[in-house]
């Protein structure tokens, strides 16, 4: 029984930075909300809130902090190890995820659009996201964290090749 080998290329190492910062910001916002909640509960101490929560309102934010720190420490580098991509003559092959994984094959001849996007965080780290769309709702493939220069070149190349290879595309 054969199996799929992982795609050859890794994304840019700077993607770890993007993912880390993204997680940090997301966690901070959640932590802020949870803290506000804890503060409100602690201050007003409504009757309908269970006793032990009223007594220790800060348990939840504390637990979340631990969880978030662990996640920030582990997930980005793990993700970096999993995220791989490869563009051959006629197929785009990607692997994404961390705990759950997804392998995707998209034929270049069926590409309809190639999007090259860069959020502000990605601009800081000089990486970019490449999104390839086919005629199917389910068939779009995303490569996150590519080196910006490489992503630009790749998107142009793919667009050209999709144009030349293009059959009906559906």
């Amino acid at each position: 029984m054969a199996h799929l080998r992982p795609p050859l290329r890794r994304v840019s190492g700077r993607a770890i930075g993007v993912w880390t910062l993204r997680l940090v910001f997301g966690s901070l916002i959640s932590l802020l909300l949870l803290s506000a909640l804890a503060w409100v509960v602690g201050t007003f101490a409504w009757d309908w809130v269970p006793e032990w929560i009223r007594r220790n309102p800060w348990v939840l934010p504390a637990a979340y902090t631990v969880y978030a720190l662990l996640k920030i420490a582990i997930v980005p580098s793990w993700r970096y190890r999993v995220h791989r991509w490869e563009v051959t003559e006629d197929v785009i092959y990607t692997r994404v995820g961390w705990i759950s994984r997804a392998w995707q094959l998209v034929p270049v001849s069926r590409i309809q659009t190639v999007d090259h996007t860069q959020g502000w965080l990605e601009r800081v780290f000089d990486v970019a996201t490449l999104k390839v769309q086919t005629a199917s709702y389910a068939g779009s493939s995303t490569i996150e964290g590519l080196d910006a220069e490489e992503a630009r070149g790749l998107s142009e190349e793919l667009a050209v090749r999709a144009g030349t290879l293009r059959d009906d595309a559906t």
Binding site: M1, A2, H3, L4, V91, S100, T134, G139, T170
Partner: protein, 619 residues
Amino acid sequence: MDRQYEPESGPHDPPRNTDGTGGWIAPGSTSGTSGDQRSGREHLDDQQGRPSPSSWPTGEAHGAHRRTEEPGSATPTFLPPVADTGGEPAAPRSWWGEKSSNDQGGVLGAEEVHGLSPRSLVVGPINQLKSLFLPILAGLVVGGFNPWVLTATGFAVVALLIGGFVTWKTFRYEVGEERLEIRSGLIRRSRRTIPLERIRGVDVTSTLLHRILGVAVVRIEAAAGSAEGTEDGKLDAVDLAEAERLRRVLLHRKAVLMGRERQEEPARGREDTDEEAAVAEEPADDTVTYFRMPRNWYLYGALSLGYLLTPFVVLTTLFGMLQQSAGEMVTDFLLDWVSSTDRGFLLLLAVVFVGALVLLMPVFAVVSYALTHWGFSLRGRDGSLVAERGLFTRRSVTLERRRIRGYELFDNPLERTRGAVRLRAIVTGLGDTANRAVLLPIGPRARVEQVVDSALALFRARLTRHPRAALYRRLTRAVLPFVVVTVVAAASGITWVAVTAGVLAVLGVPLAVDRYRSLGHGYDGERVSVRSGSLSRGQATVERSAVIGWTWTQTLFQRRSGLADLQVTVGAGTGGYTAQDASLGESVDFAARVTPEMVRPFLVRPRGEDEGGSADRQD
């Protein structure tokens, strides 16, 4: 039915040409496309050397292009033909001025600018009134017919009538050689151009009212620029014959356009134009009837859950309508009656009523099912499949074969007891698939497969079963949550929750087993098929060429047992069909068999086995 128009088109043409005072005549339509498939000889002769006045600022090239084929025409290819219009200046076009003169003679030649049927003047306002009817009635009853309410109602009705008139007066459509144009609006004008190659389907629907008046609503669905988007043209309403003609013309001309692109026998299209009669009979020539509904198939309606529930829906709607129109009175009356009647009698009545309702459920289901599926037929013509059905509202959906990528078979447990299935097509860029992709009514599997085989192509391989681990996953999912609830509830001493959850947990076992048994995927050399589900089991089959990618997803739990979900990406239908919990290795082999060019480059084979997958694939 073209023959109906044809005699009128000849004699009626000259007046249009002479008094076409900058009216609504497009060169692309009148003379230009008349050279094409549809219109008669007379029409052509009439046109020779006397192209219609162009009031078309854009000067559509395609119209002129055709005309160059006519010997008498002096019009250069890419100029708007203004030279020999008998001194008629290319006046700015009017949006609605022309139609009335055309209208007396009925519908003109096939390439004319058309308006809606005058009978839509009746249908449109009535349809709008229908939704306003109850509120108006309620207003009148409650308001005690006082003059204010009466006047307001009168105004509303008049406004509706005027609105309908304006719509009818301003609405124009025109089938050009390469595009369909729909224009409408008095103040806010809109013009929609749909290239004929883009047309994906033409639906003809007529409600009871439409049919009494002999008109129908034509919906033209076209692919928009983007992949998923579609844009519709809706003609509400045209004569039945015109609807039928439009469908034929649009799809046929489209087929010709596509054919011409491929350099396929352009001569045939020309021959067709020569004789209107030939054109009129043409559908009869290549129309194949795949299916006509046998009487006893209506009984299958009793197996459909949706139709079984209709009596309740009808009851609620009836009650709602009563309440809406008669306000509180009904509710008060009911409450009074309930509180004043003997309790035992009430109970008996309720039991009898509910019993009768349950007993009648299948009857209602069959009746309502029969109403919507009456005279179901599936035919093939001009490279399309046409499914038609309905007793009061007759609906006919045309699906282009080129866009049909496969089919789906559905059944629920009830239907499985009778071996019945439902059939739907998997079509590129089709909205409202629940209604429009239906190719057959519920019917016995053998017959359905026979129809599939003749109309499309049947999947003929056995499905590969998924590994046993998939069964355990299903059991865990169906049983474990309820077991946990049972244990927790039992521990907390809430008996009824514990019992309910316990029963559900036990029921989960057969469900999980059935869900496991329905899992499968297969490939017969040309088509890929995946199946899953229990309460609504679906098997999707798509052509190999329609597969535009593969996606495997594997969660942590799946990884432990070597399973993965394999999604077949398809540019049609829902976009992807998933083989759930297949063996990862086997599914990779499977994908490699279906699309070797896509998967092979990324395969590694341990211990140098060559094509060893075939041994593993036998389950």
